[in-house]
């Protein structure tokens, strides 16, 4: 019964979700809304466990003297923001809001902007003519990069349209092939779990 009951619940809820997709009307809509509300309830409960897990991990780090500085900063930031939010509010102009605006947002932007450097190093590795496939990749990248700048138009008026053709035909064909495989993969995974064929999450 330890396995049968969860499989039955998955099958039951999965079937409702599946049928709801094909049925229109207020009942179908309310079932969908109810499922979403349940999910939000579960999410709310899970965040408590998640915060406990984060605290416990970093508290253990402090006790063991491992990565003490990072764990200290994490715990102070986590509980500092909770205290500020609960006792002093989160409205516009509050300390909570200022820390978010002037610390959190710039930190996020900084991490995001690192992508530019990583992209350069990744391109350096990818665009090396080691074999036929990588040479083709290099050539297409060259045509695309030059073709979509005004410099491409100066070299030849056909270069921008060639770049667009690479995007619209070979690139799109490959993308559609992958998308088709993904759609079937999603369908297969969903059915395997609903029908209890895939039970790795229960074993």
């Amino acid at each position: 019964m330890k396995k049968e009951i969860p499989i039955f619940i998955v099958f039951f809820i999965g079937t409702i979700g599946f049928l709801q997709y094909f049925i229109v009307g207020p009942l179908s809509k309310s079932v969908y809304t109810l499922l979403l509300e349940w999910f939000q309830g579960v999410q709310g409960m899970a965040i408590i466990m998640a915060v406990i897990s984060l605290t416990r991990r970093h508290f253990h780090n402090l006790k063991r003297g491992k990565n003490v500085f990072y764990s200290f900063v994490t715990l102070v930031s986590l509980y500092g923001m909770i205290i500020l939010g609960v006792f002093f509010g989160i409205g516009k102009g509050s300390t909570f809001d200022k820390i978010y605006e002037y610390v959190m947002v710039p930190l996020n932007a900084t991490t995001f902007s690192l992508l530019a450097f990583y992209m350069a190093s990744a391109s350096y590795r990818a665009f090396r003519a080691r074999n036929l496939e990588s040479t083709l990749l290099l050539l297409s990248a060259f045509i695309l990069m030059i073709g979509f700048t005004s410099f491409g138009d100066i070299i030849s008026d056909k270069l921008p349209s060639l770049a667009q053709w690479i995007l619209d035909v070979p690139n799109l064909a490959a993308q559609r092939g992958i998308t088709l495989g993904i759609a079937l993969g999603i369908l297969a995974t969903s059915l395997k779990i609903m029908l209890g064929i895939e039970r790795s999450w229960l074993e």
Binding site: F22, L27, L107, N108, T179, I193
Partner: protein, 257 residues
């Protein structure tokens, strides 16, 4: 209440797929061995875990950044179960940082169950599967820091990723770790292909759990996917031919928009 007739082709496609699924499962139950081509990324999982064991370093498993209602996350958790079993057999630590609280609770149970199923519940370390933050780049920065500080020798990136994919994969590459990625995010695939040693592309990612299990019934489900793909390919050819001979009206009758 009524049926949405515009979605009927989807309904029938699912029914056809269920038919293929049941057909191949029955063949597998009869003991027929179904051939599957080798997928280098999945074949490399054992080698990657073995390398971590030899080096005495932990394995990092990133289950993507999406929520539990994303099928990619569910597929990732299935793979996590297989990877945890193998890491348990090799007695190698596994680190699973999470971005979503629900995914965290499920991942924790998956790893716990995996260790219990191989008879080694003592290997489970509660601190190894943990929640970080809901912030996309906060999570990426924390995982990059983990890779550098913990010196993970094998990194798995399985699930749904967005702009942080290259940050994670490039940092992992800079630490010299073996990296295996799997995702259905088409826009992130080029980054993983560039920075990782192996990449499971789209459907390979969804097939990985069945492939790793080696169970005939699960393997047979991959064959049912192939049969469905063959059918879709055949329909595309018919559609292309009808369009070529100018019979679009017949095409629209067969496949109404």
């Amino acid at each position: 209440m009524g049926i949405d007739f515009a979605k009927l082709p989807v309904f029938f496609s699912v029914l056809i797929y269920v038919f293929f699924l049941l057909y191949y499962i029955s063949r597998a139950r009869k003991g027929e061995k179904l051939f599957l081509r080798k997928i280098p990324g999945i074949e490399a999982v054992d080698e990657a875990i073995g390398r971590a064991t030899e080096m005495g370093r932990p394995i990092l498993y990133v289950p993507g950044l999406s929520t539990i209602d994303d099928v990619a996350t569910i597929a990732s958790l299935n793979i996590l179960s297989r990877v945890s079993k193998k890491s348990g057999e090799y007695e190698t630590d596994i680190i699973v940082p999470n971005r979503n609280p629900v995914v965290y609770t499920v991942a924790k149970e998956v790893v716990k169950q995996a260790y219990a199923s191989i008879g080694r519940p003592d290997l489970f370390k509660e601190d190894s599967i943990f929640y970080i933050t809901d912030s996309q780049f906060g999570y990426a920065a924390a995982v990059c820091g983990l890779m550098v500080r913990e010196k993970t020798s094998t990194n798995f990136f399985m699930g749904m990723f967005w702009a942080e994919s290259l940050l994670l994969a490039e940092t992992g590459a800079s630490t010299g770790a073996i990296q295996i990625a799997g995702t259905d995010a088409i826009t992130q695939l080029p980054f993983f292909v560039t920075a990782c040693d192996y990449t499971l592309i789209g459907e390979e990612f969804y097939a990985a759990s069945a492939y790793l299990s080696g169970e005939p019934i699960l393997v047979s489900t991959i064959r049912s996917q192939d049969a469905m793909k063959f059918l879709i390919g055949f329909l595309i050819l018919i559609g292309g031919f009808l369009s070529f001979i100018g019979r679009e009206n017949l095409l629209e009758f067969l496949f109404p928009k």
